[in-house]
Amino acid sequence: MTVMTMIQALNDALDVMLERDPDVLIFGEDVGYFGGVFRVTDKLQEKHGIDRCFDAPIAESGIIATAIGMGAEGLRPVVEIQFADYILPAYDQLVSEAARLRYRSNGEFSAPITVRAPYGGGIFGGQTHSQSPEAIFAHITGLKTVIPSNPYDAKGLLIASIECPDPVIFLEPKRLYNGPFDGHHDRKLQGWAGQSEAEVPDGHYTVPLGKAATVREGSAVTVLCYGTMVHVAGVAIDEAGVDADLIDLRCIVPLDIDTIVASVQKTGRCVIVHEASRYGGFGGELSALVTERCFYYLKAPTQRVAGWDTPYPHAFEWDYFPGPARVVDALKRVMEH
């Protein structure tokens, strides 16, 4: 058991898997000698050899295509896309190839690849270093999408993703890399040290894909969220003074529908929070599922708190970011019913 930041936990997961499975290899832009712009692959090349962890050309589609070919052969490539915003050039490879290879070949070939990408906002990264594209993956049959919110989960989910025989999009909320973040950007920041979720077991363990975590239990309202928003929602629940079930989905696909339904049927109210723009975001799917499965339990209309329907703007980081104040508003709104 070691206290780790999320970066260290992810690095440790990769280290464990490189050690354990000779079929695992890592590549991506700047991940080799340098260890990645966020240092997630730090020292892995030095420790495991240049052919286990190496730099790739700046060609996201080529990175994914190469990984698919390797995966079809039987390797377990783990690739990094430097920012989730830059996964888009590879979208066709992910959708038309990785996601569909098993199905169309009747299981003859498959793409057991893991695609890691730093994700989300809150770091003054402007338009193209802040986006949250999970919705464009959730809709794609054949892809799994994972979003951890703390070091313990990050390591366990990453190992589970690498071991998963299906292609996994692994989105790492970069704002959480070095510490939890509750959206109060003007307050003193804390690191991961001292947080219980930062206590990371040594060696191999997994957090299963498709199991949500109930971060806290309550009876008046269910809050569904993932990534950075787990921390924002946590503080907002306190500030609103509501008795909430706080559910960290951890995986968008596969989704832990049972946990969601059980909670909303218990509380009768639901607030959904994500950083991505609201319209067409994954919150719509969650809201629809809740309506379809819990309609007669609902005391209030399900509310979504999300990024505005504008591109992510540099100077307006905190006006755009769905911070605690907006979550509190939504909680109060549903509680009025």
Binding site: A59, G62, A65, Y103, R104, S105, G142, P165
Partner: protein, 409 residues
């Protein structure tokens, strides 16, 4: 200085349109044997002229000439002849069956049969082919059962891909044939990744990937070449330049400006430009590139210069955009006829043998189709509908389970 618009903004146009006399521009065709064969370990900078010529062995006299002649035994030549002919007969039958509504779609390889058949014979059982939809010749040469092709084309109960794929988009791992999809070009990078995986495992196996000349305009083509070059992947990357991409002639992909083989130079890779209708040249070029790859010298780009003698697919009518007799004017002839002539010249083949072969192959195709028809043509029989829900993931998730339930299958 005022240039007219057309001097500034050029839309390439082909040599002929319907009604015109076919014309292939100024194709420079060296005689068989004219191009020297550099050693397979040559440095790329010493062979930068190769992309601008055309490697040929079979001369107008039907004989094999020059250094690229692979000097094959006649029995190998006869196998190639048979497999190419089988490919053609199968295609013709299937095309007709589509017209009869027995399948939804079909695509022929006419004129390009050598490109599937020959490399299938040159390369090893452990090598993997990343094909286009015109490469059924590979499967035929590797002995893939015709009935399995037929069943997939009919999407019937015995369809090996369980009704999930279009006809012609085969997958046959055991035959070294990677899964095709409708999205053009995407799989060239998979070939590179596969080859890197083999190299990573320190195995001798290599990969061969194909892409149409039209599709070479896709960004994925460039990325595949870049990865192949940077990591010295043991892979052969082939552009099948059959002059047409549906209705767009090769000039829309840049052929008026240079050759497709010349693209190799931008990656420091050897580029070969090969008469794709000359089985011996196809054999020799594939072998040369395979030697390099297995020797750790990395990738080769080969442009196979050929002609799509049929329509693009059963959905296409080429008479709408090119002279109807264009195929007859193709200056490099037909790969089957040329091989037949060559074998005849060698005294290893005659009309009677050819007739007998045709009859035998036609029978094989007929009987496979008959067998397939008995199982069912499109819509007459199909795999269990529950196959629709299989293999989305390795293990189904609740959505698939619920929905299968909802559909009652």
């Amino acid at each position: 200085m005022t240039l007219p618009r057309n001097a500034r903004f050029r839309i390439p146009e082909p040599g002929g349109r319907p009604g015109d006399t076919p014309h292939f521009g100024d194709i420079d065709i060296p005689a068989g044997g004219e191009v020297a064969r550099p050693h397979a370990s040559s440095a790329e900078q010493d062979i930068r002229d190769l992309p601008f010529t055309l490697i040929r062995t079979l001369g107008d006299d039907g004989a094999a000439h020059g250094q690229w002649d692979p000097k094959l035994r006649p029995d190998i030549l006869r196998i190639m002849l048979r497999d190419m002919q089988l490919n053609r007969i199968f295609d013709d039958r299937m095309f007709t069956l589509q017209r009869q509504g027995k399948t939804s779609f079909y695509m022929k390889s006419r004129g390009e049969e050598a490109l599937g058949v020959v490399p299938a014979l040159v390369l090893g059982q452990q090598d993997m082919c990343f094909p286009t939809y015109r490469l059924v010749g590979w499967l035929i040469a590797r002995g893939y059962p015709l009935i399995d092709l037929v069943n997939q084309i009919f999407s019937n109960k015995q369809d090996p891909l369980k009704g999930r794929q279009l006809p012609v988009l085969y997958s046959a791992r055991d035959y070294g044939f990677y899964s095709i999809s409708g999205n053009l070009g995407n799989r060239l990078g998979h070939a590179v990744g596969w080859a890197m995986a083999k190299a990573y495992r320190a195995k001798d196996d290599i990969a061969i990937g194909y892409i149409g000349e039209g599709t070479s305009a896709e960004g994925d083509f460039h990325e595949a070449l870049t990865f192949a070059s940077v990591y010295k992947a043991p892979v052969i990357l082939c552009v099948t330049n059959n002059q047409w991409a549906i209705s767009s002639f090769s000039g829309i992909a840049g052929a008026q400006e240079t050759t497709f083989a010349a693209k190799a130079i931008g990656y420091g890779l050897p580029g070969l430009r090969v008469d794709g209708n000359d089985v011996l040249a196809v054999w020799a070029a594939t072998e040369w590139a395979a030697q390099r790859a297995r020797a750790g010298l990395g990738a080769t780009l080969i442009e196979f210069f050929t002609y799509r003698a049929a329509g693009h697919s059963t959905s296409d009518d080429p008479g709408k955009y090119r002279p109807s007799d264009e195929a007859d004017h193709w200056p490099l002839g037909d790969p089957i006829e040329r091989l037949q002539n060559h074998l005849t010249l060698l005294g290893e083949w005659d009309e009677a043998q050819h007739e007998a072969m045709l009859e035998g192959l036609t029978k094989r195709v007929r009987s496979a189709i008959k067998e397939g028809e008995a199982i069912g043509t499109l819509g007459e029989s199909k795999p269990s509908v529950k196959e629709m829900f299989e293999h989305v993931f390795a293990e189904p998730d609740w959505r698939v389970l619920e929905q299968r339930n909802e559909l009652g299958v």
